[in-house]
Symmetry: C2
Subunit: 402 residues, 2 copies
């Protein structure tokens, strides 16, 4: 067999994807309780499903045919209107919006579009796993600023100021955050926007959970005066429309960025899924999106969140966490228990699965600040199984610590 490229050694298998097989097993076995993955567990909006049936019956050739690399103009225009509503910013659907294969492709194309060798990207630690490897593939370097449970997982604006160098090319902001559930503070975003303008770097905003907010309001960095020209805003329909398997997201950014991404996308995936885009037109019509979020998504997940929070406080009183105001997760500092057990977070997770058939994600997967933490999602299991899962965790910890 001939050689493979050196870049393959540069990147690692995503730990989250490594446990995908585990989660498959969890789905197959009713006895495994999964607080692991972050996939929505609700059916998509009825109107979207009905539209798929209509498309198949009425225009299969058109709906299953190619579309342009940037995606359907009709959908891009609806997205622009929608962004206006939430961010207050005008985007031109033709020039400043591009449809992507989920936000994963949006993130990948973003880094390829902006990074030269040794350019620095500042990440919050802990944060989503999917940024580091594409930064490395694009030749960039990673700089981190911490977020700690004692500050509500809010990063410190002073740390951000101190981490900016001449080589800073971008800062990545995920809000609401995975794994912590933190909704970013307005104070931090204000500092971020000022620094980006002063030092001419990009704000990459990841809006994966933008509408999964239980209290207060999300902050979009492009909403600040003058910030639009510094912001690459990456989005997905996976969470807010509960359709991760259709692989559709979008990017909103200055037209030069969209042109650069379009050039790249021709060779990464040619064009987005036409069919899913036609179906998604219905998501923006007649208030479907707002109704689905307000009546289905938020109440279901909020209720599960409240239950899980209450149970964590009851059964793991020494643990420290925050009540997540958004997204799908509790990020729990369990160091008091780990010390008593003589285990780290990875050992905790693997033994918990083996002994009690409960899946949690080791916090160290999300950065060194996540050491001694576990991420637990409340969206995968119904309430009675959330209760049973936390009880099993308590039994597991108790068996070590008595």
């Amino acid at each position: 067999m001939p050689y493979l490229s050196d870049r393959i050694e540069l990147i690692r298998i995503s730990p989250i994807r490594m446990i995908a097989a585990l989660l498959d097993k969890a789905r197959a076995s009713r006895s495994i309780i999964s607080f692991g993955g972050g996939a929505p567990s609700l059916p998509p909006p009825r109107e979207l499903l009905e539209e798929i049936e209509n498309l198949i019956r009425e225009k299969p050739i058109k709906a299953l045919g190619y579309c342009g690399t940037r995606g359907l103009p009709e959908l891009r225009n609806l997205i622009a209107e929608d962004l206006k509503k939430y961010t207050g910013v005008e985007y031109d659907g033709e020039k400043e919006i591009m449809i992507t294969d989920g936000s994963t492709e949006g993130i990948f194309l973003t880094f390829l579009s902006i990074l030269n060798k040794n350019d620095e990207v500042i990440l919050i630690d802990p944060t989503y796993l999917g940024y580091t490897e594409p930064i490395k593939l694009a030749g960039g370097r990673i700089v981190r600023i911490p977020a700690k449970v004692e500050n509500g997982y809010q990063p410190d604006p002073e740390d951000l100021k101190n981490s900016v160098t001449k080589r800073t090319r971008a800062f990545v902001l995920l809000s609401p955050d995975n794994p912590t559930g933190r909704v970013i503070s307005r104070e931090f975003v204000k500092t971020l926007v000022d620094l980006a303008q002063e030092h001419d770097f990009w704000i990459i905003y990841d809006g994966a959970y933008q509408h999964i907010v239980y209290e207060g309001e999300n902050t979009w960095p492009q909403s600040y005066p003058g910030a639009k020209e510094y912001t690459i805003s990456v989005h997905t329909f996976s969470k807010e429309a509960s359709i991760p398997g259709l692989r559709v997201g979008y990017v909103a950014a200055p037209k030069e960025v969209i042109s650069a991404m379009e050039k790249l996308k021709q060779y990464t995936s040619l064009a987005p899924n036409t069919f899913a885009q036609y179906a998604l037109l219905k998501f923006y019509e007649n208030g479907v999106k707002e109704r689905y979020l307000r009546d289905v998504v938020i109440p279901t997940y909020k209720s599960r969140r409240d239950l899980m929070g209450e149970l964590i406080r009851k059964y793991l009183p020494e643990a420290r966490t925050i009540t997540p105001h958004g997204a799908f997760y509790f990020f729990v500092d369990i160091r008091p228990y780990l010390e008593l057990m003589g285990r780290n977070d990875k050992e905790f997770a693997s033994r918990l699965l083996y002994r009690k058939e409960v899946v949690v994600i080791p916090g160290s997967y999300f950065g060194s600040m996540g050491n001694g933490h576990v991420r637990m999602t409340f969206v995968s299991e119904p309430e009675e199984r959330i209760k049973e899962g936390i009880e099993r965790i308590w039994e597991f910890v108790f068996s070590y610590t008595i």
Copy 2:
């Protein structure tokens, strides 16, 4: 606005995608006759459409949920069986097959997986446009060997031998070919396999049109003894199932290559479209695929091909071309006419569109050997419009040459 990366300047907008807007216009205006794009114009198999409706009614959460990065195991196993039938080669569905976002992603991941800086990739000139830019993005260099109409667009095995160097890392074989419709000769493939084994380079086989063969049989390089370990075989459902808008393809390769591609794909697109994969299970059941190709695809396109060939001979007797034994295109050397007209192939195409509303693709888009040629697809228009289109081309040429 902050800077963009230098790599954006390295690559060009695909000329084919540049005319996508044009083709959109063609679709909107009945008066434009398109011999331009290469998208199937037939509805997908009925069984596949019915399955989409079933999925929506019976298991929307599962069908619209995430799957693993490599794709659904059931589909990968069916693909392995199918490849065995055509190539005679055993593939392990679990380890040696990965689902991709069309063959575009397969090609992109292939080059990222095998190329280091300045590694050489040998292409046939002319060939499909989609190889050069991802080779450049991966740091590779392009070497070309010619294919000429007088040799039936078959490349010369001697040219291949002479182009291999110490830096040769891969050869790309598209058969049946775009733009020429040539089905590769067994003699050439034999030489290719021998050279790959001797010099330890990859054979990248692009099977986009593998089943669109009108006479004779396609040759799969992995079918040769010992060749499997040297072959990365890239495929798509876009042409053979007429579903380009669903963006599904696959790669069959040694397990080390699939592992490398999986690592990369986690960050390019995370996972393939789950929904389309479930629907495609039906493509492999109960002889659906063979029946669809035999009863629908091949007879429809063959009849159009025969008509277009006859009309080219009648109306453009000085042009030189071959009867394509596969794929969707005539690649026509029109230099005798261009000389009389004092135009090159790009000017010919743009003036033809302006004056006569017929779309053809300039041959020089496919490599320097394509200068003075045009590519004309016979799959986009029904027969009466093929006739009208060729008559309009004749009128156009005639208006210049009398």
